[in-house]
Assembly symmetry: C2
Homo-oligomer: 327 residues x 2
């Protein structure tokens, strides 16, 4: 708890910026591979070898999160997960995170502190650390931008473009849970708790990214826009068609029961939902899938489309930030 | 010009996100040290050796820029410069940039394209490239977050904490120009153009960062909050006092003439101004300063304060994003 009880409820406008930064970062750990951490112009992170995997992902209040649904710590977990999952989807181990925030002046210091605690707690799952950031005032909604870097440890990156006809398609990790949680909350319910929690804090199988790379994955993507939408990115980049088998798609009991209660086809969550950050990958047909992966379909020659049991599914679209077909 | 004439004035809300991203990134170059660039889950950048220098810096509309004063391309230059200067201030060569943006739906696609063009144009000054990003909708002001990584090429990082009593204090690059430009614009003038331009697009001596590292700098910082404020960070981190010599501070003719016209002491700009991203460094007393550096003071034993001719200057404070003493 880096912000002590006396300043926790102070608005950030009441605190000098440097004092604020010192307070909210005071409890953060470092790591032996970090030779310069917080508090200098830039951080210095020592990887095993000099190929740096890097990505950025931003969350905007009112678009990606609501205060009524998520605590600051949850949001920290999410921004860290979104970035680290992208790094892991290349077959790399996430090592370090940067966090920049734009926050209204009336935000409580404790909120920012909890946000960073959430980021660090998520990072700790893979031994990564927060090494820097930037705090700024805004008159608008809170905006949180994260950056993660990762270490390929000598492996070749697993790209979206390597899928070949005959490959198996497989996923690792929860898929559709966050979308189901969103449906639950949108309809005014607070349970099943396991689904609501899945929306608040994804449970990402970071280890599956490295396992897939070691296990011979030909292509891989982090599912954040939706399973069909993101497999569409692999199909397009690889110049292949992908066909999924509906009966092989994992539908957990929590999803099935809630779908019945809401009269929804649970496959819409599994096929269309994003934000769980499961890993979707393709493997040569004879390869034994790494632990955690479930086979869900096959790669075919053909136009880059994604089908289910040979046909397209209605009602599916990935998340769009702009544009007329925004969900 | 990645966005063609037909879509340039389309609002981003009218364009599908992936189409927008393709349009605004279509003209971006890559580099031979980038093995995975735009369009995958994450980028892969190959450094000379595995110590990664990394930092993030965010610009918020209405706080760091105004549309009436800056074009999108200027803002792109600024966010790239702010990040690359931090990397260079560690003694590293900037190699790659990430850019995440939150933009209102009515923003024109051409504005975003120009922003990225500005980032890339600034990056090209040091051979760096844009390798990834994230676009998001917001109901509030535009928020732009940049990340830069750099390559130390085997050098030790130059930290803030290495200044020792007896060291020389020196700066490289413009200092006070952006602050003077801000004064000019704030008073409703548009000239001297050279000062206004300095605010819009900093001219950063990136080469001076590496030169200082090679030349034996004991401490270094990128001046973004103000010369006295940022030297104060060195003083505090190093546990030393710093005394500047007023007559050795470089006051360009443009600064001097404008100061006379506005009845302002130009040293207030030089000592208090940020945003020029000059490099302030300390060197052992017998070291010949690298090209581009001007000696402005000396490091003494004592409490960590920054004085000018042995005394403190009134009217100086660095930029604060929050807090009662915000300028």
């Amino acid at each position: 708890m880096p912000v002590d009880r006396s300043t926790r409820h102070h608005q950030v406008v009441q605190i000098d910026e440097f004092t604020l930064i010192n307070a909210i970062t005071a409890g953060l750990p470092t790591a032996d591979f970090v030779s310069v951490g917080l508090g200098d112009d830039a951080a210095v992170v020592n990887l095993e070898q000099p190929s740096v995997v890097m990505c950025t992902d931003m969350l905007v209040e009112g678009r990606h999160f609501r205060h009524t649904w998520s605590e600051a710590e949850d949001i920290g977990h999410r921004v860290a997960a979104a970035n680290m999952a992208d790094v892991a989807a290349m077959g790399a181990v996430p090592k370090a995170l940067l966090l920049s925030v734009a926050i209204p002046a009336e935000t409580e210091a404790g909120w920012v502190s909890d946000l960073i605690d959430g980021v660090q707690a998520e990072a700790e799952k893979v031994g990564a650390v927060v090494v820097g950031g930037d705090t700024n005032a805004t008159d608008g909604p809170i905006v949180i931008s994260g950056t993660a870097i990762g270490d390929l440890q000598g492996r070749a990156p697993v790209r979206r473009s390597g899928a070949r006809p005959g490959d198996q398609v497989a996923i690792a990790g929860r898929q559709g849970w966050a979308a189901a949680g969103l449906t639950v909350l949108s309809r005014g319910f607070r349970s099943p708790r396991v689904l609501v929690d899945a929306l608040r804090r994804p449970e990402v199988r970071y280890d599956a990214g490295v396992a897939a790379a070691i296990g011979g994955a030909t292509a891989m993507i982090d599912v954040s826009d939706g399973l069909v939408a993101d497999l569409g990115h692999i199909a397009k980049a690889s110049g292949v068609a992908i066909d999924l088998s509906a009966e092989s798609l994992p539908v957990d009991a929590a999803l099935r029961d809630t779908a019945v209660a809401f009269s929804i086809d649970p496959l819409l969550w599994v096929l269309g939902g994003g934000e769980d950050h499961c890993f979707a990958a393709t493997f040569p047909q004879d390869t034994q899938l790494p632990e955690g992966f479930t086979r869900i379909g096959v790669v075919n020659a053909g136009e880059p489309v994604v089908t289910v049991d040979g046909g397209t599914r209605r009602g599916l679209s990935g998340w769009r930030h702009f544009g007329p077909d925004r969900t």
